[in-house]
């Protein structure tokens, strides 16, 4: 063998260079796409400065009704600025009280869609519009207080239901009694700013009296310190139990047995963010409930995944049960991202329109 002829393995070097270049080319741009950030949903966990301003602006010195008997001197407590809507909340709630900041919601990003969803195919709205009443503009808040409904806003143009009997009730209010046979309760309009709907005339009058402080003042179940978010209120165990009753009877029983109530806050304008602070009687039982709720959510998520309902599973993925506050209370959080909200509302609108079209067809026949 001639020394100079010995193989030097140059092809190894050529191969190395070639493979190095090829490898570099293959890896160019092969970066894993940035991890999609988990959808961030702003949850209403505290009152913002804007909301504080809103609360303060709503505190009003209510006009005091004149004394019936000029010969007697009644000693009244000094007037206090109150939120008229919240002042109607009963002292002891049976099922719950929820207030919706309707104007804020309708004027948010999702507002128009939400409005369309709620009103799609509703022909009665046209009569309201004919009267010059636009719920998008003229309604400020709607509250459901146990069995009573309260609506605030500019109600001057709100037409009474056809066939109703309207009568003044004091200098600032009037009573509207719908014709017999309708399911609507007796309405009371106060100062063209507040509408209360009671089951009967006595209940409506009592609410109007309470508003004008003709009765001894009542301490509402909650005050404006929880008036943040776009929907807020308190749900009592009976209502909470009823919500879970069909799905999980055990959970309903535990709910009834353990909780004293749930303070709810929700933001609807962009994403849907829900926060529920559960207060409980017994910390040990509350922990059991906390775990049961966590399991319920996980199970629902797994079931959704198994059924291929990815969107539902993803939504449930955003739901969580936060650790307790030590006194037995704990927090539930849930959210629906903006995109999902939009798609849900859009399909709601479509369904509503289809229903209306079917009704119209049926009417024509």
């Amino acid at each position: 063998m001639r020394a100079s002829s010995r193989r030097k393995g140059w092809w190894w070097l050529a191969g190395a260079a070639l493979l190095l270049l090829l490898g570099g080319w293959v890896m160019l741009g092969a970066e894993p796409p940035p991890r999609p950030p988990p959808p961030r949903i702003d949850l209403p966990t505290r009152m913002t400065s804007a909301e504080l301003g809103r609360v303060e602006a709503r505190r009003t010195y209510m006009p005091v009704a004149p004394l019936d008997d000029a010969g007697l001197v009644e000693v009244r407590p000094p007037p206090k600025a109150i939120d008229p809507v919240l002042s109607l909340i009963p002292e002891h709630l049976e099922r719950g009280a929820v207030v919706a900041e309707v104007n804020a919601i309708f004027n948010s990003e999702l507002g128009p869609l939400l409005f369309d969803c709620l009103t799609a195919g509703n022909t009665r709205l046209s009569s309201l519009a004919d009267a010059g009443f636009d719920p998008m503009v003229h309604v400020d808040r709607v509250a459901v207080l146990d069995d009573t409904i309260v609506m605030s806003g500019n109600l001057k143009t709100l037409p009474p239901p056809p066939g109703s009997v309207v009568a003044d009730y004091g200098p600032h209010a009037r009573l509207i009694e719908p014709p017999a046979g309708t399911r609507l309760g007796v309405m009371g309009v106060w100062n063209d700013q507040l509408l209360v709907i009671g089951e009967n005339a006595a209940e409506t009058k009592a609410l109007l009296d309470r508003l004008e402080r003709r009765e001894a003042p009542v301490k509402p179940a909650f005050d404006d310190s929880i008036a943040y978010g776009e929907v807020y209120g308190v749900l009592k165990p009976e209502l909470l139990g009823a919500m879970f009753g069909d799905v999980d009877p055990k959970l309903r029983d535990l709910m009834l047995e353990t909780t004293t109530g749930l303070t709810l806050h929700a933001d609807v304008g962009h994403d849907l963010g829900l926060v529920g602070d559960v207060s409980a009687k017994d910390p040990a039982k509350a922990d059991e409930l906390r775990r049961a709720l966590g399991s319920f959510i996980s199970l629902a998520r797994l079931q959704a995944q198994q059924r291929g309902k990815t969107e539902e599973a993803n939504l449930l993925d955003l739901a969580r049960v936060r650790s307790g506050d030590g006194a037995g209370g704990f927090r539930l959080e849930a959210g629906v991202p903006n995109e999902v909200m939009k798609s849900m509302l859009a399909s709601c609108v479509t369904r509503g329109k289809e229903r209306a079209a079917r009704r119209a067809d049926a009417g024509a026949e």
């Binding site: 063998m1 001639r2 020394a3 010995r6």
Partner: protein
């Protein structure tokens, strides 16, 4: 046909290995160079037991590594078992025992032999491996190499080298670290291998071993071959003669002619002249034999003449 293109020295020779003009220069990163082999030309016939002797740093180990393809020559030509050194097929026919063998301490003797056998493309049975170990005097085939003495390691290395009955056995200091009794055993093994027909290339500092095993030797000095031939040739001294005359000769006359105590020192011409003078004085020659040296002397003389 195989001779076509070969150097004249290599043509027609059934050599186990042949080198011509072999050079090896080690170069350092900083431009320094060390010539380890300087134009070595040598041929070792098949079946020979060849001893390579020389002082430290003479280039013996480099030469062996060139034959194995472990070191690349800088120049010259090398043929080993009719192939190129380093060629896998050629290496399959060579057994090699390095000077300082690093054995995996964690393996047992049998595991090591099994590994070498696989790498040599052999598939010996456990019994064959045990026999190979017993042949070199290692009876416990499960003993870890880590607990081996230097001599035992050397024996194991020898067993590995002899595995598969190679045509060429290259042994670098095979008896290093082995006790005198062990050396006799190793020598016996080498002679057995030689008798089997294997070509032996032995590099050993123990010249007596080389002398007892090899039939050909070469002296390597500073990368050059200074002496090479059969053992008898290199041991024979051309300038000293043992002479015996018939009895009754005048001792003083013989001493005058140059024969002191039956020994004459001088070249052939001087010897003949001295014999003529002795015969003229009536002496009758009975026997004349050239004097022989041992390899130690051979090496010493070679180094002296080189310096």
């Amino acid at each position: 046909m195989r001779d076509r293109g070969r150097p004249p020295i290599l043509r027609g020779v059934t050599a186990a290995l042949a080198v011509m003009g072999l050079t090896k220069t080690y170069r350092s990163l900083f431009g320094g160079a060390h010539e380890a082999l300087r134009g070595l030309t040598l041929s070792i016939p098949r079946g020979a037991a060849f001893g390579l002797i020389g002082p430290n740093g003479a280039g013996k180990t480099t030469f062996i590594k060139v034959l194995l393809g472990v070191v690349q020559p800088s120049g010259g030509e090398v043929t080993v078992l009719d192939g190129a050194p380093g060629d896998v097929a050629v290496r399959a026919r060579i057994g090699y025992l390095p000077e300082r063998m690093h054995l995996p301490a964690a393996l047992s003797a049998r595991q090591f032999l099994r590994s070498v056998a696989t790498l040599k493309r052999l598939s010996p049975s456990d019994v064959e491996l045990r026999r190979a170990l017993e042949r070199v005097g290692l009876s416990d085939d499960r003993q870890r190499i880590g607990s081996f003495s230097k001599g035992m390691r050397q024996r194991l290395g020898l067993a590995a080298a002899m595995l598969g009955a190679p045509e060429l056995l290259i042994l670098d200091e095979p008896t290093d670290g082995i006790d005198p009794v062990g050396r006799v055993e190793v020598r016996r093994l080498l002679l057995e291998e030689h008798a089997r027909g294997a070509t032996l290339l032995l590099n050993s500092h123990l010249l007596s071993e080389t002398e007892r095993v090899c039939d050909r030797v070469a002296v390597l000095q500073r990368g050059r071959l200074t002496l090479e031939g059969t053992l008898d040739d290199v041991r024979r001294v051309s300038t000293a003669w043992r002479v015996r005359f018939e009895a009754g000769v005048d001792e003083a006359a013989l001493r005058d002619a140059g024969f002191v105590d039956g020994v004459f020192s001088g070249d052939v011409e001087a010897l003949n002249r001295a014999l003529d003078r002795a015969r003229a004085g009536g002496a009758r020659l009975v026997s004349l034999t050239p004097m022989e040296r041992d390899l130690e002397q051979v090496l010493s003389d070679a180094m002296e003449s080189a310096s």
